[in-house]
Amino acid sequence: MRVVLAEDLYLLRDGLSRMLTAHGFDVVAAVETGPELLEALLGMRPDVAVVDVRLPPTQTDEGLQAALAARREVPGMPVLVLSQHVEQLYARELLADGTGGVGYLLKDRVFNAEQFIDAVRRVAGGGMAMDPDVIAKLLARSSRDAPMTRLTPREREVLELMAEGRSNSAIGQRLFLSESAVGKHTASIFGKLDLTQSDDDNRRVLAVLAYLNGM
């Protein structure tokens, strides 16, 4: 799988590059600035991009902006954004187009290589990987928000894990449920949130979007 990596700190770029290579990815470009990233994304069309939010030259949110620009050009281009901190504002912007293939994780998640690589794979496959921190904040907030009040506590738990980007079987493992039971819950969530599209991956994104906008 072809990966473009954007990270301005050499140590981290090198470490990430090694980790990705060790897990069978092909790092086709490892860049350190926003403009380089955009060029690499549009020129090479990688299977997935791993991008730091803050990049030179402005040291602001160049990485995020480049990723968003690339996704506007190539809808659904898989992008996993890494950051020192997670903000709902950025999560919303990434999810706003309603297509899959996005991730937004704290840099700490790299510590656990298996989980991180799993997240990269999910995003590359058009799925989603949202940081549990974002989800936890959302959950704390949206507890009294209208569409969410219709969900049962169990459904909220399922939605939470769904928002992180877990598959039904992974959710089942976490909550000690059978996969079919999780399937029933997800179907019920989609129903309660009025999501009737057929593409399951996309519906998962939309469910999280509804979750974000339900306040």
Binding site: R54, Q65, L68, S83, E87, Q88, A140, R141
Partner: protein, 643 residues
């Protein structure tokens, strides 16, 4: 008539008598009011104003209570709650409006005066005292009067006329019979006069009338204050002469004790004429400088005791303060300028209304004055011709009144506002203060960061290092234990990261760094457990330090709304106009926030003070709380961005 009915009537009779007595006590209270309020307003002796108003309230309150208890028509007490006593700030000085005072009495007095004069119930009480004797007292006293007169008539005339006894008894019985009805009627009348007004639109005529009246009262008060300047000016001249003769001791207390009048005029100019006149006085004495020989030096003079040195420093400050001399000049001139302009306006209205109109009207009505002298009330020998002239004078005066009031404010500003030099001196003083605030805050912040790093992340990294050493040691002998330690080390590194992240957020929030104030506030609104609506009308970004201060101010306010006000909703509105960034934060919490007491709010003022920003807060008990932050700053065009 049943026994019960008779007893009821008798009780009503006594109650009516008591109410009539209270009505007459109202006349005494009215006399007291006039005795204090007339010189209070007319001569500017404002210190007299609160006394009768406060003294009169127990009486009207008693009438309210008795009406409620005896007639079942409760009359709510309409007074506004008493303002809290002034609270000193951190420096031990007392804030009032936008000035600080060394002693609490002036702020306390002004707050009390505002409270009493600003309360419509005060005027309601006064109205009751004036009107009630005319109707209420006869109403309540009639039954008792009938009984008394009837009884007296029956007894005194019994021998002379056969009808005396029946008539007297009939009158007394009639008195008893009407007593309950009249007391009930009196209760309605009292309620009409004394209950708080029902909320609703006030008539335009009434508003206009109230405005004119207020205007006249203000002009009158200013006239009184202008005239009051005269004795102060005289005493000042005497003080200066005494100073010239070597009696230096009298001058500083004289100067400082006379400052209340110009200060009051500055306040009034701002409040009544809408012309802001800042206080120009230099406010701080330096500490006397002690020489190695133990003596104190002030200028080129040496003093043996600190007290005398401090005294002379004070004298120097007062005499070198240009405001002192401008005050003095103003005291001399204002009785002429202010007195003439205010007096002429008031005289035009008064003379026009009464001097010219009244005699003319009485002639028109057919009443002949028999005084013979027509020193007023006639123009060109005709009393009737005086009517249009009087009308014109009164109208002219009323039209001129607002102009004169404003002009008076300008006149006050002319001599009493700080000069360019004084403004510069005050500005330097203010900058010195805010600079020391800023450096203090900065230093405290650095200490907090240092402590957090030292106790948190640094300690964890050290522990991790030790742990890694142990792991190295264990790797071959006990891989199991090494693995457990490794897991621990990883956890510690994650914790260290979390701590560092929180620390960074406290220093400069990442979204603020990456996106600026607007998105940072939006992100804050998303994070805070409160439904928060953010509206923005900003065409660019302020400079970074202002952004940061504004962000932390909003953060503090929203946190307060959650923590203290128990709010459920909040709005944040950011806008920019007239070179000022304006942020309005409102919440629907329980209100009652006290800017003088909340240390957080003081800190906020201090933080914004560095940028000459101001904090204005309105938080009545029961909410809602509105805080307006204003910071003068420039906006820079936003960098070309998405969204």
């Amino acid at each position: 008539m049943t026994t019960k009915g008779v007893r009821g009537s008798a009780v009503a009779l006594v109650r009516g008598l008591a109410l009539a007595g209270l009505g007459l006590a109202g006349v005494v209270s009215l006399a007291l009011h006039l005795a204090f309020l007339v010189p209070g307003f007319g001569l500017g002796l404002i210190f007299l104003l609160p006394l009768p108003i406060l003294a009169g309230r127990p009486l009207t309150n008693l009438v309210r209570r008795l009406t409620g208890a005896w007639s079942g028509l409760p009359v709510a007490t309409p007074y506004r709650p008493r303002p809290p006593a002034p609270v000193p700030d951190a420096d031990g000085r007392y804030p009032h409006v936008n000035r600080l005072y060394r002693r609490p009495w002036f702020p306390a007095f002004m707050t009390q005066l505002d409270w009493l004069l600003g309360d419509p119930a005060s005027y309601r009480d006064l109205g009751w005292m004036i009107v009630n004797p005319l109707l209420g007292v006869p109403l309540a006293g009639l039954p008792a009067a009938l009984v008394g007169a009837g009884g007296w008539y029956a007894v005194s005339q019994a021998g002379r006329h056969w009808w005396a006894v029946p008539v007297g008894v009939a009158a007394a019985l009639a008195g008893l019979a009407v007593a309950p009805a009249l007391v009930a009627l009196h209760a309605r009348w009292t309620r009409l006069l004394l209950r708080p007004p029902s909320p609703g639109p006030v008539g335009r005529v009434r508003r206009w009338y109230a405005r004119q009246l207020l205007l006249l009262v203000r002009l009158l008060a200013l006239l009184g204050l202008s005239l009051l300047a005269l004795p102060l000016a005289m005493v000042s001249v005497v003080g200066l002469l005494a100073y010239g003769l070597g009696l230096v001791v009298v001058l500083p207390p004289l100067i400082e004790n006379f400052r209340w009048l110009p200060e009051l005029r500055r306040t009034l100019a701002g409040r009544w004429s809408g012309i802001d006149v800042p206080s120009p006085y230099l406010s701080r004495d330096e500490v006397p400088h002690r020489r190695p020989d133990g003596r104190y030096q002030v200028g080129s003079a040496l003093y043996r005791t600190e007290r005398w040195a401090a005294y002379n420093l004070r004298l120097r400050r007062l005499t070198r303060d240009r405001a002192t001399w401008r005050d003095f000049l103003w005291l001399l001139v204002d009785p002429i300028v202010g007195g003439l302009s205010l007096g002429a306006t008031l005289a035009a209205i008064g003379y026009g209304l009464f001097g010219l109109l009244v005699p003319g009207l009485s002639v028109l009505a057919g009443v002949r004055s028999d005084g013979g002298t027509d020193w007023y009330g006639a123009v060109a020998g005709s009393t009737v011709a005086a009517i249009p002239v009087g009308l014109a004078l009164a109208v002219l005066g009323l039209v001129a009144a607002p102009v004169v009031l404003r002009g008076n404010g300008r006149w006050t500003a002319l001599l009493l506002a700080p000069t360019a030099r004084a403004q510069l001196a005050l500005r330097v003083q203010r900058l010195t203060e805010t600079r020391s605030d800023a450096t203090d805050t900065q230093a405290a912040e650095l200490r907090r960061i240092e402590r957090d790093l030292h106790d948190g992340a640094q300690a964890r990294l050290v522990a991790m290092g030790i742990n890694l050493g142990n792991i190295e040691h264990l790797l071959d002998r006990d891989p199991q234990a090494a693995r457990a330690l490794l897991a621990q080390a990883r956890e510690a590194s994650a914790k260290a990261l979390t701590e560092l992240r929180d620390l960074v957020r406290g220093i400069h929030p990442p979204v603020l760094a990456e996106r600026g104030l607007v998105d940072a506030v939006r992100a804050l609104a998303l994070d805070i457990p409160l439904r928060t609506e953010v509206t923005v009308a900003l065409a660019g970004r302020p400079e970074a330090p202002v952004e940061s201060a504004a962000y932390f101010a909003v953060s503090e306010l929203l946190t307060n709304a959650v923590k203290h006000a128990r709010a459920t909703r909040a709005t944040v509105a950011l806008s920019y106009a007239g070179g000022r960034l304006r942020i309005v934060v409102t919440d629907d919490g329980r209100g009652g926030a006290e800017p003088a007491r909340g240390s957080g709010l003081r800190g906020l003022e201090r933080r914004l003070g560095t940028f000459d920003g101001v904090v204005e807060m309105s938080s009545p008990p029961g909410g809602p709380t509105t805080v307006i932050l204003e910071v003068p700053c420039a906006l820079f065009s936003p960098r070309t961005s998405i969204s």
